[in-house]
Amino acid sequence: MDAVVKFTSQSQGRDRIFRATQYACALSIYLLRNNSERKNLVAKLKSLETNMSAGRKLFRLGNTVNSIEAAKRTMQLSDRVLCLCLTAANMNRALYFICDNVLWARSVGLIRDIDKERWSLNSSRCYFLSLVMSLARDVYVVLQLMTQRARDKHFRQKMELQLNESPEVAEAVVPHLDAFLFLLLESLKSHPAVALDTLKNICDLFIPLDRLGIYKSNAGVVGFCGLISSVIGIVTLAQPKLRLKP
């Protein structure tokens, strides 16, 4: 109980739980859409999803400042690639939050004559860019880990053993691919934080890809990916060891 209280007392913890619920509702609505007996339940789920989304928009009102502060911090990183990727990601997130705040003001009626569709597309674009930069950072970190491992003598011995164990035809033809995959999987296994962050960003990517029309999936896929990424977000918040730093 104490851990639950501590988790929910963080604003981010609550937001991630609400996000998980929102995408779970979206997924359930998609799965039940053709079920005529559950129309009442589908209506309730839709109402819940709308409420959660509206509430989350209100709670996100102060997050622009958070992102700008994060961008200021990442500008001071020593590694140039990390510095570039993270600062760009944070700045895009700040722009996304600004668009989101404008959309909130529109939805409560504070601002009337703005093009809701245009602002919504802009916010999706900013979110998409921030995810792309986060993924670029993940790829960079994974490549760094792989080169580090490849240089390690013990690891090379282990890899030789693994490759010589299974002399199937396909693997013999493409030894480099096999070695590469083995190196990749070993690096990811030894650093679960990177693996989780990469998976989270890939899942998150489907949401703006669908919204912008670049890769149209359906509401079910979006709901499922959103749910997975929210659950990973909750896990990384509950277990700070699994959080990728910086």
């Binding site: 604003s11 959660m52 400042v65 502060e69 504070l110």
Partner: protein
């Protein structure tokens, strides 16, 4: 900027800011009505207030657990009056949050056919009990501090042959004696409150807060404007205690 980020990271802080905005909207709605503003503007303000109220209910979904945990901690206090007041106060708060959660479920349509008025009244009753217990605790602490201060003053100053000795006072209570005594008590009160800002803030906050359930339950109706002003004042005081943790009354 950094302090804002830290402040914003607490879920309770966010809820307080939204509460301040909500009661500011209430106050604004009342002023606009009195000033005869356009119906469109008043509608926007009341819609904004309703949206904030519902979102705060969403944000408070887990607070019953926190209140129960606080009640569990309060049981171990040494002072019996404090123990009683705080434990029952926290339990009432937990019940208030539980009713609030039911109201949220009703408003979002999860629970159909909910008697919202009944549950709303119920939740305000629990809130009123919790506030009364908090005020009792404040008055108790104040009385202890005043007694302490009076004893300290009596010990510090030599006994003077003034006409305000307790026995004389009881035998022949005259108006100037009464006034002098009253003035002395008031001076003690002001000194104690001035030197204990956490107690003063908590007392002010609870006093402002109590007008809200009193109005909503119809016990002492004061009107939207007064309720809005009280709500806004208590939210601002609450935000102050969060920004400066030393201003929070402990336990």
């Amino acid at each position: 900027m950094d302090s804002w980020v830290r402040f914003n990271a607490q879920s309770q802080a966010k809820e307080r800011v939204i509460r301040a905005a909500q009661y500011a909207c209430t106050l604004l709605g009342y002023t606009l009505q009195k000033g005869g503003a356009a119906a469109e503007l008043r509608k926007t303000v009341s819609q904004l207030e309703a949206h904030m109220s519902l979102s705060r209910k969403l944000l408070r979904l887990g607070n019953s657990v926190e209140a129960l945990e606080a009640a569990k901690r309060a049981i171990h206090l040494s002072d019996s009056v404090l123990r009683l007041c705080l434990t029952i106060g926290h339990l009432n708060r937990a019940m208030y949050f539980a009713c609030d959660n039911v109201l949220w479920a009703g408003k979002t349509g999860l629970v159909s056919k909910l008697d919202q008025h009944k549950w709303s009244q119920r939740s305000f009753r629990y809130y009123l009990f919790a506030l009364i217990l908090n005020l009792t605790r404040d008055v108790y602490e104040l009385r202890l501090l005043i007694e302490c201060e009076a004893r300290y003053r009596a010990a510090r100053s030599p006994p003077s042959p003034s006409p305000t000795l307790p026995t004389d006072h009881l035998l022949s209570p005259s108006t100037p004696d009464m006034l002098a005594w009253l003035r002395r008590q008031l001076h003690l009160l002001v000194t104690v409150l001035y030197s204990n800002p956490p107690l003063l803030l908590d007392l002010l906050k609870n006093s402002c807060d109590i007008f809200i359930p009193l109005d909503r339950l119809g016990i002492y109706p004061t009107g939207q404007g007064f309720v809005g002003a009280c709500g806004l004042a208590s939210s601002v005081l609450s935000i102050l205690t969060m920004v400066h943790p030393w201003l929070k009354l402990k336990p």
